[in-house]
C-alpha cells in the first residue's frame, strides 16, 4: 500500500473563495467556502472587479481555515491543486498566485486544474467513478456533456452554443423580478404551477448534443412583453414552470441519448444547476427506467468548491502532471485530457 496523498485545493474562478484538503482524491478532510453572493446581490449578478477584491481579502483566511479544520500542517501535504481556468481572469489569478506562493513557501508540487474537471470529480468524493462514464456539467457558467473512458480523459461531446443553463435561469428570474441568484427561486416557483406556459424546446440539428438557451430565454421575454402590452395578468409560477420544463426536457433527453449511444456504465451530473429539483427528478426517473446508474453529488459539492479541485488535482498529481511558478489564470482554458 502506497502512502496517503493529501492535496490542498484552491478555487477562485468566480465568486466563491474556497480551500479544501482531500485525502487520496476521495475523502474530504476539510472544505471551506467563503461565498460572495451577498455582496453581488445588489448588482443583480457577479461584478468581476468586486469578486477579485473579495478574493484578495479572503484567500489566506480561507486556506488557513481549511488547514485548521483538517488539523494539518503544510508539511503533511503532498501537493497544491488550483483552478487554472476557465473563469473570470481577475478572480482566477488570485487563487493561482496564492497557490504558487504557498507551494513555493513550502516547496510543494503544484497542479493547475480545469474547473469543469473539478465539477466532474466532485462525484468521486461521494461515489467511485465507473468508466466509461458520461458527465452532465450544468451551472451558471457551463452546460456540457463530457464523455470519459478513463481517469483524466475528457471528450466534450456537447456544449452550449450561447448561454449556460444557469445564465438563462438568472435572466428569466430577473424578468420575473426574483432575487439573485434566480435558479433556486424558479425551481421553487415551478413546483407551484399547475398550468405551465408552453415554451419551445430547442433541439438543434438532428443528433447534436449541443445546447442553446438564448432562444428559450427570448421566448420568455417576448411572452412577458406581450402579456404586459395586452394588460394580461401573468402568473409567475406558470412562466417559471414553462421555462423549467423546456430546459429539463431537452437536457434530460440529450443526456439520455448520449448515455445510450456511448454505452456508458455510469452517468453523473455536476454544477450548481444539477441541484435543481426539477432537473434532478427528471434525470433520476429517466435513468432509473433505463437501468443506468445515475448520481448527483450533494448540493455542497455541486456548487463551486475546492474539494472538487483537490479531487481532480489528486489524479493529475498521480499521473505525474506538474505546474510551475509560471502558471497563470486561463479564462478560456480548453478541457484537454491529462494523458
Amino acid at each position: 500500500m502506497s502512502e496517503d496523498i493529501y492535496v490542498l485545493g484552491i478555487e477562485t474562478s468566480c465568486d466563491e473563495t474556497a480551500a479544501s484538503v482531500v485525502k487520496n482524491g476521495i475523502e474530504i478532510i476539510s472544505n471551506v467556502v467563503a461565498s460572495q453572493i451577498e455582496s453581488h446581490k445588489r448588482f443583480g449578478g457577479v461584478v468581476p472587479e468586486i469578486a477579485s477584491r473579495h478574493h484578495v481579502e479572503q484567500i489566506t483566511l480561507v486556506i488557513e481555515e481549511a488547514l485548521k479544520e483538517a488539523d494539518m500542517v503544510p508539511a503533511q501535504l503532498s501537493a497544491v491543486a488550483v483552478t487554472e481556468g476557465p473563469g473570470l481572469v481577475g478572480a482566477l489569478l488570485i487563487g493561482v498566485n496564492a497557490a504558487k506562493a504557498f507551494a513555493f513557501a513550502h516547496q510543494l508540487p503544484i497542479v493547475g486544474v480545469h474547473h469543469i474537471a473539478g465539477h466532474i470529480y466532485a462525484n468521486r468524493l461521494a461515489q467511485e467513478m465507473q468508466f466509461p462514464l458520461l458527465a452532465l456539467v450544468i451551472s451558471g457558467g457551463h452546460t456540457e456533456l463530457v464523455y470519459m473512458n478513463e481517469h483524466g480523459h475528457f471528450d466534450v461531446i456537447g456544449e452550449t452554443r450561447d448561454d449556460a443553463a444557469g445564465e438563462a435561469y438568472d435572466k428569466v428570474a430577473r424578468t420575473l423580478n426574483l432575487p439573485y441568484p434566480g435558479g433556486p427561486h424558479i425551481d421553487r416557483l415551478a413546483h407551484e404551477s399547475n398550468k405551465p406556459v408552453d415554451f419551445p424546446r430547442v433541439w438543434l440539428e438532428e443528433g447534436s448534443y449541443d445546447f442553446s438557451f438564448s432562444g428559450l430565454k427570448s421566448s420568455v421575454l417576448n411572452y412577458m412583453h406581450n402579456a404586459a402590452q395586452r394588460g394580461d395578468q401573468v402568473e409567475p409560477a406558470d412562466v417559471a414552470a414553462g421555462f423549467q420544463n423546456s430546459v429539463v426536457e431537452v437536457v434530460t433527453a440529450k443526456t439520455l441519448r448520449a448515455a445510450e449511444q456511448y454505452k456508458v456504465k455510469q452517468v453523473i451530473a455536476a454544477g450548481g444547476v444539477a441541484a435543481n429539483k426539477g432537473l434532478r427528478a427528471s434525470l433520476e426517473k429517466a435513468f432509473a427506467e433505463k437501468g443506468t446508474p445515475f448520481f448527483i453529488p450533494p448540493l455542497s459539492l455541486c456548487t463551486d468548491n475546492a474539494a472538487m479541485i483537490a479531487a481532480a488535482g489528486t489524479i493529475m498529481y498521480e499521473k505525474g502532471i506538474r505546474g510551475n511558478m509560471a502558471m497563470n489564470g486561463r479564462p478560456g482554458m480548453e478541457m484537454d485530457s491529462w494523458i
Binding site: 498566485n97 513555493f104 513557501a105
Partner: protein
Amino acid sequence: MIYLGIDTSNSPLAIALAKEDTIIIEETTNLKINHSLTAMPAVEEMMKKAKIAPANLTHIAVAQGPGSYTGVRIGLTIAKTLAWSLKIPLHMVSSLKVLAANGQNFDGIICPLMDARRGTAFMAAYQGETLDSVIADQHSEVKDFILRLKELGRPVLFVGIDVEIHKEVIHEILGEQASFAAPQNRLPRASNLIMLAKQSEEQNVHHAVPEYRRITEAEANYNKAQGGEKS
C-alpha cells in the same frame, strides 16, 4: 534579517532581496508582461541566484497600491500568502511613495504619478529625505492635481514612467516649476520599497488588502442610482 520586496503595482516588475542593510540583489523589468505569469518565476530565480531558501526569509515588503487594480492584487496576494505561509511579518508601502523615493534628494516637491486613463492619474506629493507627505495619495484629474502643486509655489519633480503621457499639461501649468526624473530614475525600485518597509509597521496578514484609492465602477454607478454619496 532577510527582506523580500515585491512591487507589481504598475507595468514594471520590481523585486529585491536585502540582508540587514545590504541590498543583495535587485531587479526591475520594464516589459509589459503579465505579472501573474512573471512575478513568481522572477522571485524564484532571484532567490536561487542569491542562494536563499523561502524558509530563510524573515520579512516580506510589498507595494500596496494605488496603481493597476490587477497589478496590486497580484503583488498583495503573493506577498500576503508568502508572509502567512512562512509566518513572517508583512510590510506594506504606498506604491507612489516607492516611486517618490527615486527623488529623495530633490530639494522641493516630489510628485509620483501613475496614469489611470481619461485624463486621471494616481498622484501624491512628498518632500524631503524622509518623504513626508504633502498631499496624500489619491486618484485625481491630472490637471486639478497639478494646479494644487502650482499653489505650493515650489519646484516639483515628476517621477514615474507614465509622466510622459501628461508632460504637456504639466509644462503648460507649471512651466519652469516642473522638472522630470531622468530615465534611470523613473522605474520603481524594490530596494527603495524594502528601505521604506523597514520604517513601517507590521501588518495583519489576513487583513492586508490593496489600497486602490478608487471604488469600482459598479459601486460608483450603484451609489449614483441610490442618490447616495458620490465616488
